[in-house]
């Protein structure tokens, strides 16, 4: 922490607080003790004194609701800016080694050799651990291998890394939907399907 306490900010703050108190009838007051932080009205929620968190600003339309554990679909989709900005295929973000392994995986998968396919993708994942195309392809192969729970989680992981890339997310939600369906979670599958529909609408809307 960079600047030491200078008189100016304190004065400015005191003035501002006074003004606010006068104008808004806010309960803030400057404490007698000089600290780097202004005294706040103590929130007596327990033994510690914690400044009340600011009221949430109104969420922008289409913005995700903050998630909590146990929430059925933990990864929310950010409003798609312009779909074409996102890479559509792995080529745009992957090195040659990873592309080569992904090709091997595609061929193995086409030949029904799912172990070989997942093996190649796991090698690719180790080389580029945050390549969401690799995670996405891996979720599809785990689905082939009937590792439904893992397929869904891996697709979620891809979604998390994709940071709004709707092309990848579309594929991932398809895997999630199928995995849930296969596990008898029809409602979950429907929720995933609604994500798919939403993304598809956005893609059409953005001309993607």
């Amino acid at each position: 922490m960079k600047t030491a306490l200078s008189t100016l900010p304190v004065l400015r703050w005191s003035l501002a607080a006074l003004l606010l108190a006068l104008l808004g009838g806010c309960a803030s007051s400057v404490g007698e003790r000089t600290t780097r932080y202004p005294e706040q009205p103590p929130a007596q929620t327990g033994i510690g004194t914690v400044r009340p968190a600011p009221q949430p600003t109104a969420p922008a339309p289409n913005l995700p609701i903050p998630i909590t554990p146990g929430n059925g679909s933990p990864v929310a989709i950010a409003p798609p800016p312009k779909a074409p900005e996102y890479p559509k295929s792995a080529e745009a973000i992957s090195g040659q080694a990873v592309l080569s392994l992904m090709k091997q995986a595609r061929e193995a998968r086409a030949a029904g050799k799912f172990d070989q396919a997942s093996g190649a993708l796991e090698r690719a994942q180790r080389i580029e651990p945050r390549n969401y195309f690799v995670w996405s392809a891996l979720s599809r192969v785990y689905l082939d291998k009937k590792l439904y729970d893992n397929a869904e989680s891996v697709a979620m992981k891809s979604n998390s890394l994709a940071r709004g890339n709707i092309y990848v997310e579309l594929e991932n939600w398809k895997v999630i939907s199928e995995a849930r369906e296969a596990q008898g979670d029809s409602i979950g599958a429907l929720q995933a399907q609604s994500r798919i529909d939403e993304i598809q609408r956005n893609l059409i809307g953005s001309g993607g």
Binding site: M1, L19, T49, I67, T68, G95, Q96, Q116, Q125, P129
Partner: protein
């Protein structure tokens, strides 16, 4: 024996009646028959023994444990020095020209490698000659030298790091006779059994020849036992020097020769013969001995190395090259002379070989059992899935996640770090102990484990078994529990740093204090974490409750069930380093937990896949709050208790971490991560005595060296969709703009960033108006 009848007393020479002769003959015949029957039964029994043992499972084959293979591809961050080291560790030999698998030629910016063939779980990878182009950052190109075509990716053969053998047991690496170099085959016979292809199991001529040769030499050069007899002795019998054993040995040798071809017998011998000892582990066969003494496959041994192995046959203990180097060298040179005399090598080759040192790999103890703490983890993961006998007898091949580079970095950091701190604190050498774990962030692979400063020796595995208080390592989970309540807390929430006394259920009063015994005034949440202040943490913990913190700990991967006491907030929970790595790994992977795994695949000895261990992932913690706590842990590194790391690591590498210190300085911890690696270091004393070191002074220097050597990727903090960033004035914690001199981009759960401008903000001057406008709008 029948007693002869008394002589008759007549004068005439007595005439033995015919009946007596017949009787005598009958007795002899009967006794002879009985003897024959007994002998036959013995032979039949021995024969049966031989056939069942020889035809069935001839050897128990311990599972072989392999490290993860190095992948070579453009972009791989391995420079020339590191690549050379990697090749040498694999037992590759530096040559001018590639003259066979297992050799390489190294230039400044290019390495030509003759890669050994290897049977991976997904199929064989044939041997290949490749050229790797390198610059300062790593590999730029990989070219196939035969086809002159670029190769996208090439997998090196993995290093054999150990085996799973019975408690008191034989270890071996099975080889086929055609894999045995001709010089070894012929040389072995010329020294041990020249007449092997002529005798029937026992060689009368051999006995005489050995006597002659030994007399001429003045000491024992050749043994009289044939290869077949030696095999029988090694295989079926004890080493007692008794006549019964010797006779049984000869009978069995003859029987063996009747049932099996010379080739089969020689192959068995090559795999059976005892060639060394490594603690409890008996090294059997040339296949393993080649790794044990020279760290490379049998096919790549050179003349002087072959001669040493052949020499050791005579007495693995007496001629132990690691203990009795001179004696072993004399023996080796003698063997080289025999090779020359038999025309197996030329004079020049003999001279060249004699001029070479023994060339042993590894340390005094040596061998392939290099990483006992890691192999221990592998065994535990396999337990429950395989019977013990499957692991010790079936020759399974276990492909693990161990990254030799990471393991070496961890070992070196710990050994050097402890020595440095002991010296600077004037502690007697060996006072401190330490353990550490390195894992991959996404995928949860265990890359390195050190169970104690004597990392070569299997012993108490502190990384897995030493559960000690984690101290402040718990704090990120306390703060995370709070940050999950976005409506109550954010990173700028002010926490009081004031004394506190609590009456515990046992009526005792608990009055925690800060580590520096000072009070620092109200602190924003992230600063309280960065400086690891205890009092704000306890206050916050009491607000959110022990239950909530334990829940978070469990979601992160903690498996215990701690007492719900306020001391929990300061880390009164016992956790093993490996589990700390799991917990911090969940944070590093943005809340997506991958259960730590040390194994990728298991195959049969023929290479048939038995088990694959896919990457497992489950989101157990919410992404947004985890992002916030990770951001706070980057502040620990930038301005808090972890900042000394940046004296070793470049500023541009973003790291997140946390120190941990327990009461009276008994345990020093540091746990943290970069973009791709999680590292955990513990330092303490086995006798639990205070050692005068905190997490920052005891564990952080080791952790920093480790992270530096791992050549990690920077942590890329890209906010998830439910997180927004806003400039905050560091003085007030309120919204800042360019008007504020000290401002910081702080993440908040979306919708919970402060809307109020800091007094320093330019926008603040119009704030009242803005406030009024807001009302009307």
């Amino acid at each position: 024996m029948a007693r002869p009848m008394a002589p008759p007393t007549r004068k005439k020479p007595p005439r033995i009646p015919r009946q007596v002769w017949i009787g005598l003959l009958a007795v002899v015949l009967v006794l002879g028959s009985i003897g024959l029957v007994i002998f036959s039964f013995t032979v039949i029994a021995l024969d049966k023994d031989i056939r069942t043992r020889f035809a069935g499972v001839r050897w128990t084959l311990p599972a072989q444990v392999y490290a993860a293979p190095l992948e070579l591809y453009a972009g791989q961050r391995v420079d020339a020095g590191a690549l050379r080291h990697e090749l040498e560790r694999l037992g590759y030999r530096s040559t001018e020209n590639l003259d066979g698998p297992g050799t390489f030629a190294m230039g400044k910016s290019r390495a030509d490698i003759f890669i050994r063939g290897f049977h991976f779980w997904d199929g064989p990878r044939p041997e290949a000659r490749i050229s790797v182009k390198l610059d300062a950052d790593g590999v730029t190109d990989v070219l196939d030298l035969d086809s002159q075509q670029p190769r996208d990716i090439v997998r090196m053969d993995p290093m054999l790091i150990g085996s799973i053998y019975p408690q008191q047991g034989e270890d071996r690496v099975l080889v086929k006779l055609d894999e045995v170099p001709e010089l070894l085959r012929e040389g072995l016979l010329s020294v041990e059994d020249k007449g092997f292809y002529d005798h029937f199991g026992v060689s009368i001529r051999g006995v005489f020849r050995a006597m002659f040769v030994n007399l001429r030499a003045g000491h024992t050069v050749q043994g009289a036992s044939t290869i077949t007899q030696q095999l029988v002795r090694n295989f079926f019998l004890t080493m007692d020097r008794t006549w019964t054993r010797k006779i049984n040995e000869m009978i069995m040798a003859v029987l063996l020769e009747r049932h099996y071809s010379k080739q089969e017998i020689l192959e068995a011998y090559v795999n059976e013969i005892y060639l060394g000892q490594d603690g409890n582990r008996a090294v059997h066969g040339f296949g393993l001995a080649s790794y044990f003494y020279f760290n490379k496959p049998l096919g790549e041994l050179r003349d002087h190395e072959i001669a040493l192995l052949v020499g050791v046959v005579k007495g693995a203990s007496f001629y132990n090259p690691r203990r009795n180097a001179e004696r072993a060298k004399n023996r080796r040179d003698l063997v080289l002379h025999v090779f020359r005399d038999q025309g197996l090598i030329s004079d020049a080759e003999m001279e060249a070989a004699i001029a070479r040192p023994l060339g042993l790999a590894g340390n005094k103890k040596g061998g392939v059992e290099r990483y006992p703490a890691f192999v221990d983890l592998v065994k535990r993961q396999l337990r429950g899935q395989y019977k013990d006998s499957d692991l010790t007898d079936e020759g399974l091949r276990i492909f693990t996640t161990l990254e030799p580079r990471a393991q070496e970095a961890l070992e070196r950091s710990i050994i050097q770090g402890l020595a440095t701190v002991e010296k600077s604190r004037k502690m007697p050498e060996g006072t401190l102990e330490s353990s550490g774990v390195v894992t991959s962030v996404d995928g949860g692979e265990v890359l390195a484990v050190v169970g104690g400063r004597e990392s070569r020796y299997a012993g108490f595995n502190r990384a897995l078994d030493s559960r000690r208080s984690i101290g402040s390592l718990v704090k990120p989970f306390v703060y995370l529990s709070a940050l999950e309540q976005g409506d109550r807390y954010n990173l700028q929430s002010i926490l009081e740093d004031e004394p506190i006394s609590l009456r515990l259920p046992n009526k005792q009063v608990w009055s925690p204090g800060n580590y520096d015994r000072k009070l620092h005034g109200p602190q924003p949440l992230y600063m309280a974490l960065a400086h690891s202040y205890n009092l704000p943490t306890v206050r916050l913990g009491l607000e959110i409750g022990e239950k909530s913190v334990v829940e978070t700990l469990k979601q992160a991967g903690y498996s215990g069930d701690p007492a719900l006491l306020p001391s929990l907030f300061l880390g009164a929970v016992d956790v093993a380093p490996i589990e700390v790595a799991q917990m911090y790994g969940t944070l590093a992977a943005n809340g997506f937990q991958s259960p730590l795994s040390s194994i990728r695949e298991v195959t049969t000895k023929e290479g048939e896949p038995l088990n694959r261990y896919p990457i497992r992932v489950k989101q157990t913690l919410p992404e947004g709050p985890v992002y916030l706590i990770n951001w706070a842990m980057t502040q620990v590194m930038r301005l808090g208790t972890g900042r000394a790391a940046y004296s070793k690591i470049p500023d541009e590498v973003v790291l997140a971490g946390k120190s941990g210190t327990t009461d009276d300085l008994r345990d020093a911890w540091f746990a943290g991560f970069a973009g791709d690696r999680v590292g955990v270091i513990w330092v303490g004393r086995d006798d639990y005595k205070p050692m005068g070191l905190s997490g920052s002074t005891g564990a952080l220097p080791i952790w920093s060296s480790l992270i530096k050597e791992l050549n990690v990727r920077s942590l890329d903090l890209i906010p998830p969709p439910d997180v927004e960033e806003q400039l905050a004035d560091t003085v007030t914690g309120l919204k800042a703009d360019e008007g504020c001199q000290s401002r910081l981009l702080v993440p908040y759960l979306r919708g919970y960033a402060p809307a109020e401008w800091a007094p320093c903000a330019r926008a603040a001057t119009s704030q009242p108006l803005q406030w009024l406008r807001d009302i009307f709008e």
